[in-house]
Amino acid sequence: MAKLYAYISHKNGVADDTALELLTAAAKIDAGASVTAIVTGSGADLDKVCQEMAASYKEVLKIDNEAMAYPNAEIIRKALVEIIKDDDIVLLPHDTFGMDLGPGLSIKTDSPFAADIVDIEGVDGSTLKLIRQEFAGQVYTHVTCDISSGAILNIRPGVCKADESKAAGGSVTETSVSADLSAGRRYLETVIPEAGDVDITKSDVLVSVGRGIEDEENIEIAQELADAMGAVVSCSRPIVDAKWLEQSRQVGTSGKTVKPKVYMAMGISGSFQHLGGIKGGFMIAVNKNPKAPIFQVANVGVVADILEFMPELTEKIGDL
């Protein structure tokens, strides 16, 4: 009988938000299944996370090994390959760790891989029916995955509501790995980016520009609006990639997490990596594409060319 596993990411003794989201995702595959949490790491932090997970998962599989003190995907893969059998299904978060681990794990366990899953419709025989998005959320797709030889499924963080019921009363089982845990890739250190000229997380109002700003020179148009409003300019990732603004101004999963009173999304499409950095506040979106996904999450929307709209808004605010 196939088993369902969820891989638990954790840091400093605390499980990641995705830990309980994967429990919800697993229930969408098989509502009655007993789901096993796999927790790897080392020492007291690991014990803490395992205890925490036993409240939510019936079975917690603990792998305590010095070599896994830092989550190196290559090493963790070796451990998982020993645990996963035939048609078992493994759920991973589709974050920077899941992207590192999932594809290779699918090859080594000879099971198919589906990633960035936003919803699970259910199982029909040996076919798992999934929902994904393409083109940064502009369109959705139905995807089928043949699970007769198991599956590795990367679930997008934040799409499944965390199962907070904590009613499992589960137990922790320890297991060890027999494989040689040396790796071709060795973790050295984590480098924290330098603080920038402004701290966008401290601002109540953000005028945030995306690729719709089109040109480096146009950043000034956004700066003028921000000045008129008493706001700070932040941005989406492509603006930082192009080196038009400093990384410290980037909002999103690989940038800053912000919680302003008002967030003005100017020429931003609304990708999940961008939205992942916005934790509340009133959102106003201006975009020339009436179907831009950002309008699904914004409170107020305007269909307009930001290069024309922003100067007019700046002028009107100046006249107040």
Binding site: P112, I131, E134, T190, F295
Partner: protein
């Protein structure tokens, strides 16, 4: 250093608004503008910079029909010495594993120290590099945003959550998937593309690569896109309508009410 960069021709997200077609089962493919996948372009630039520093050559490879010729030449105009086109009816309908299997075939025909892919492409699976590395039993790193070349190893940075950078040492040969922002890809003009217009690009099919046709293509694919659709997403934002003046007046009221003007 001999570097192979795997590139894909995709609908350009920057140039197109992607919408459903009138039948509602596919995207509207009329007038779509295609280009090289954004992530791949950063990978090619990085490969060229490495070769500029330590010597060697860059080869770009793409799977597809005649249409990929254009993106291969664009990347060759940037400075990739060689291009390879992988084309065969048997490749059609491959899932990620099928694509990685095909690429493994071309990797084995060469003698590469480093293989690069983009971190992800239009479909957003972020899978090819990791699968290829596992099939070849070489180390892999995803989301690479820094590379320093050492002796038989590389020192690489991976982008992780919060913009932090995870530094690793990785043995060569290896596969890296490259994240945007790692460099500033050079501009390619018409003249550059003209210069490589007559360079011969070899083409290989499944049998040239020694690939068992049963392991690729539609029949072998276990992960399949059934259709495109738009769910009912509810109401979404309150859209402000009217003349620009009216919209701005309303917006200023809304800003005031929500603490957006100080």
């Amino acid at each position: 250093m001999e570097i192979l960069v795997c590139i894909k021709r995709v609908p350009d997200n920057e140039e197109n608004e992607i919408e459903l077609n009138s039948a509602g089962n596919d995207i509207d493919r009329d007038d779509l503008v295609y280009s090289v996948n954004e992530w791949d372009n950063y990978a090619v630039e990085e490969a060229i910079q490495i070769v500029d520093n330590v010597g060697g050559s860059v080869t770009v490879v793409s799977i597809g029909d005649e249409e990929v010729d254009e993106v291969l030449r664009r990347e060759m105009a940037m400075g990739a010495e060689k291009g390879i086109m992988l084309t065969d009816d048997a490749f059609e309908g491959s899932d990620g594993k099928g694509i990685a299997t095909i690429l493994k075939g071309v990797v084995e025909k060469g003698n590469y120290d480093l293989i690069m892919t983009g971190a992800q492409a239009d479909e957003g699976y972020a899978q090819i590099g990791g699968m290829l590395a596992a099939m070849m039993d070489v180390p892999f790193a995803s989301l690479v945003n820094k590379i320093e070349v050492g002796d038989k190893t590389l020192k690489i940075g991976r982008e992780i959550e919060g913009g932090n950078q995870e530094m690793n040492e990785i043995d060569l040969p290896c596969v890296l998937s490259i994240q945007t922002g790692i460099n500033e890809p050079r501009y390619v003009g018409i003249r550059g593309i003209r210069k490589v217009a007559s360079v011969e690009i070899p083409e290989f099919g499944a049998s040239d690569l020694g690939i068992d046709a049963g392991t690729i293509g539609e029949a072998a694919a276990k992960v399949k896109r059934v259709d495109y659709f738009m769910p009912d997403l509810g109401d979404g934002a309150e859209m402000l309508e009217g003349s620009t003046e009216e919209i701005i007046d309303k917006l200023i009221e809304i800003l005031k009410a929500n603490g957006g003007l100080s």
